[in-house]
Symmetry: C3
Subunit: 485 residues, 3 copies
């Protein structure tokens, strides 16, 4: 079967997403995301022509929101109603039996026996994965702490694609809080997957975390370049550019002459400016810092620059002061459309995961192939160091078995499979020591050459010398002389 | 087309209310209210005969309640379900993104892209108007602070009309808290519009505000008379009558001999006694006041008087102590019926505003014609002095442009178009002074003859002398010598 | 009409439960419960075959939850959606007009005019009865304080019957908190009605209340035996058996030689182990008590005993620490199934009470016939002594008329018809004294022979001597010399 896609006829296959969950944006290939978008287009058209949609008839969506939200929850519930389905809702921790100390796994199993699909927002990072692991029904992550918010990313991409026809090759500027926003973190990797270039314009102090930059370079194969400081303060540019990611398929070699190339780049214009809410309270301690004072509000005046002539102005909302009301009627502004697209995009996603609809998926090759990392199972007692991770919460630690991807060996870097927090442990050892000869039971610095030598199946990881010693290990030469007491 | 109405055949036209909002009871003419009532009758009959009603099929109502409510919210939601539609709900500020500082305008636009109609309750006066201005879908005010609650008034009127066949010419007593109750404020003007007489029986200290009396006289053309103090304490009357409004179409001339006429009036009986909740906490500071101690609870004993023989006993509920349980089984009691009528009345309203139904509207002349007041746009910086007005809230002041109706010139009286709060500003000036000659740039007392002289397009209003002077004006002879520092 | 039931063909009649309420499990006969179960079977089958069920089409369920709950509320709401009906929900006291001081009766009448059926959870004991008395629509108790939770019992029984084919003659062990759990209290009487034997295995300090034991003996006609202390600590038994109830139809005579018989009994195995949540905070004050320290967690190890080989492991959930996660995949574990059965059981119940379905009820004789107790109407001023009883709450006391069943005369024991709390009042008198001769107006100890002598229609009950004296009574010889000041 062939269908017309971006002006060409391409080979496609009908793929069903039935019974799958959406926990992180990585759960969907670009082709599967395109399938969601194309069904969303279809459903928008059906809604516009008042064709009754029955894909959800007789089905129940559980809407579980353990953090404040109007937009996302109402958008999902509206989507399910538009599909003709029913909704059961639990809002707020106080009013639920979680207050009685119930685990997420128990809640998941029970909700899984009531509903056909579940949508969850939760303050713990990785909570959606746990729900998905135990519910036995498709689960959609509607935001889990600072981790991910993949359906926001879907509607962001849908908005760009709707206006520009494609995402590949576009230049997208991310503006504001690049440090804490889960919205931003989901979006960055999706843009990279689709082959867009990204301009990072953080509020001072809210720069993109280093581990995301590392992931972009090592797993997404592109380049990340920081323009020179002198250039960074250039008066020609109105906006505070901190770094640029260029997709591996881009022809340019930005790394060679970043400043010059950047100016060339920008002349062609920014395709979208994605603004996020900045929390003023973070600025209080740094008074007198001129740069922070001057961090610009996005308004009509700022967007007078040539590079913004055709720029889509986007915002996940709610906004506070970072985006001026004078842009609300500007034709470049997309943020209310973005929110509105939430309904058809979520309708399409729900219908696909419920198995009530199928959608053609193009057979195109992924720009960024998925990487399979070896898994470390956490023996003899390693726990994720992220205190917001679901796997270390009092009610969850009883049954969740920690697992980590070994994403790097030099330095040894583990990534929790729940919250995807990456960290570099202090000490390692091998479980394959000579039995009975305690002299061979040694632990080493994770920065020593042993980090590359010990086989995954024998690897033991410790966060402190004391922990290693409590398991009967003694310091080796390779503890770096910095063994803790 | 002619239909039988109140015993006569009258010319009617089918009017659609599609896509309109209901923010204050003034948004509906009496004919349009009759259209709602007649459709409510029809829908009640269909429900009784178990005929499936499909007017809401495929539609979504957003139910946004930012203040406690069971009755009103459940009534609206039941109405939408009875129409076959879907409901998305947000209850309580704490659980919504309003807590993140979002403006009502942003929320309105977003909800407007999810739902087909929205119902809003909010503590800020004028909030429903802002939602209606931005949502792009019909919006129904379910109570905005102390301002209005028009659907309560619709079901109150429906109850009276159901029992008496008409509202015109009836005598309705309002009882209890006439000062703060939004329910009462909506009801008074609707009764006046329909041509009913009103007896005001306030709890001491909770008398009808003066501005409402003024509005009744100037805009509704009737008379308001206060019976003599001696008569007011008459032992023959069981209830504490404070004032009487008589409709302009009434034949009597109550103002001539109020006390005598009143007794004559009352002999014909009170058609409805509308009781409202009185907040005990307001009485605490006035201990020893005998009148307050004696303010009667409405019970079987009180209603033994001849004038109450056929009186409909009404209450918007919830009640506390002002209405005794011994009346619950009394055939005069209407309050549970009132609540029950909420469902068909709201079904009819929803169906009409959604454009799913039409209803015949009689072509009869309005008793009280609408008045068009000139508008003052708030230059150079006037803000509504009501601290509960939506237009002065921190999140809203950024984008709401203040507007005031000039409802009187002597004394100059402005009415905020959002909260409908009326006030008399201190100072005025004209923007048409002789350029360059600062001597002519003067401000005057708003009580001087200048208040009538300055043209609306040139009018400038100040709430203090300082404010006037900060705009470069100097006091004139007409500042009354009372210029503030 | 005959249908096959438990392997035999029995005479049945189609019984409708239309318009009835379910306040306590006593509201349903065993035959009626079987009718619910058999319809639940049918509905499960229809769901499995994706047959659209329309029993709730056009109907509205009001879901009123004034205490935290996820499971029960979502289960009811899912059930109503699966029937094709609509749901209106009120969750949490804070967000409702109950906060304004409204009575349950008023709320009931109003909700009764909006919805077709109501489900209520409330912290006050007896609240569901009040709602049922005033709503005018069927009402289902979803938990009223520590009183009852009859639909939990229905799904518990359904689970047992599903796995064992019958409930009659089974041996069911109740484990954990037998003192406070409303779940347990509903279940015990239902098991007794169906003719099951019950093993009571309480956590120390959380033993079954004496009044329940008394009720089992006097109203359900069985025996309750406490095994000897020496035997109770037997090392052969892993679990802390405190008492055993044997159904009157059982052939054995446990009371004769309890310890020996028990061992014989247990060899045949426990059919179900019903575990409940134990609140750790209750143990804090009794440190050092070895027994409490050793109260076993139910886990795989505990269930290795022969008597548990075929035992169904049940739990109403949520669990905290009393039931180990290692049992989750054990084939004996039923607790997630139990929760899942909540949906079809509640669907069946809703459909029957709504009158949308009928179900055959077997004509079998009840094992435990209902007892009709004489009623005491509470004159001259008796109030239920249970401070959590709905009838003594500030907003309810105005209109609720107290009533008590006289469940025993020696000692005189009254049971409140609202919360079913039983108590022994202090003093009594007769209203039939010789008029005018105050010497004959005496009050007596409720433990004197007068308790059996005074006719119900003349009985007066006092909780203190002062109260009796305030009504003009004087102490008789039979006040036991213990008259209070």
């Amino acid at each position: 079967m062939t269908i017309p896609l971006e002006g060409r006829r391409v080979e496609v296959e009908k793929v069903t997403l039935a019974r799958r969950s959406l926990v992180t944006i990585d759960d969907l290939s670009t082709g599967e995301m395109e399938a969601v978008f194309s069904l969303a287009d279809g459903m928008s058209a059906e809604l516009a022509r008042q064709i009754p949609i029955e894909s959800g008839r007789g089905k129940i969506m559980a809407s579980l929101f353990f953090e404040p939200s109007t937009r996302t929850r109402l958008s999902f519930e509206a989507a399910m109603h538009r599909l003709g389905g029913g909704v059961i809702s639990a809002v707020d921790v106080g009013a639920t039996s979680l207050a009685k100390g119930e685990s997420l796994a128990d809640m998941a199993r029970i909700v899984g026996s009531y509903a056909d699909i579940a949508v969850i927002r939760h303050p713990w990072e990785g909570a959606a994965k746990v729900i998905a692991d135990y519910a036995g029904i498709p689960v959609i992550n509607a935001g889990d702490g600072g981790h991910q918010h993949p359906t926001q990313t879907l509607l962001d991409l849908y908005t760009i694609r709707k206006e520009r026809g494609t995402i590949k090759g576009l230049k997208i500027a991310l503006w504001g809080d690049l440090k804490y926003g889960r919205t931003i973190h989901s979006l960055i990797f999706a843009l990279a997957k689709f082959g867009a270039d990204i301009l990072f314009c953080p509020s001072p102090g809210l720069e993109l975390p280093e581990h995301i930059i590392q992931k972009l370079i090592t797993e997404y194969g592109g380049e990340v370049v920081k323009p020179g400081a002198s250039n960074g303060k250039s008066k020609e540019r109105l906006f505070p550019l901190d770094a640029v990611y260029t997709t591996p398929t881009s022809p340019h070699q930005l790394a060679m002459m970043p400043d010059v190339s950047l100016e060339v780049e920008l002349k062609t214009g920014v395709d979208a400016l994605y603004v996020t809410r900045t929390q003023k309270e973070r600025f209080a301690t740094d008074e007198g810092d001129e740069l922070k004072q001057k961090y610009p509000v996005v308004d009509k005046k700022l967007l007078k620059g040539k590079e913004f002539r055709r720029t889509l102005v986007m915002h996940p909302l709610p906004r506070v002061d970072e985006l001026a009301y004078d842009l609300d009627t500007d034709p470049r502004s997309q943020y209310f459309k973005q929110a509105a697209y939430g309904v058809p995009v979520r309708m399409a996603l729900l219908a696909l995961l419920l198995g009530a609809r199928e959608s053609p998926v193009s057979g195109e090759e992924q720009i960024v192939p998925a990487v399979d990392f070896p898994i470390y199972h956490g023996k003899p007692g390693l726990r994720c160091p992220n205190s917001k991770c679901v796997s270390v919460q009092k009610t969850e630690i009883k049954y969740i078995e920690p697992e980590f991807k070994i994403v790097n060996r030099q330095p040894l870097t583990l990534r929790c499979i729940y919250c995807e927090h990456g960290f570099e442990p202090e000490y390692i050892a091998s479980s394959e020591w000579h039995e009975g000869r305690s002299a061979s039971k040694k632990y080493h610095s994770a920065r020593s050459h042993w980090a590359q030598k010990i086989k995954t199946e024998n690897l033991l990881v410790f966060t402190s010398a004391r922990e290693a010693e409590s398991h009967g290990f003694k310091p080796s030469h390779y503890t770096g002389g910095a063994a803790e007491k």
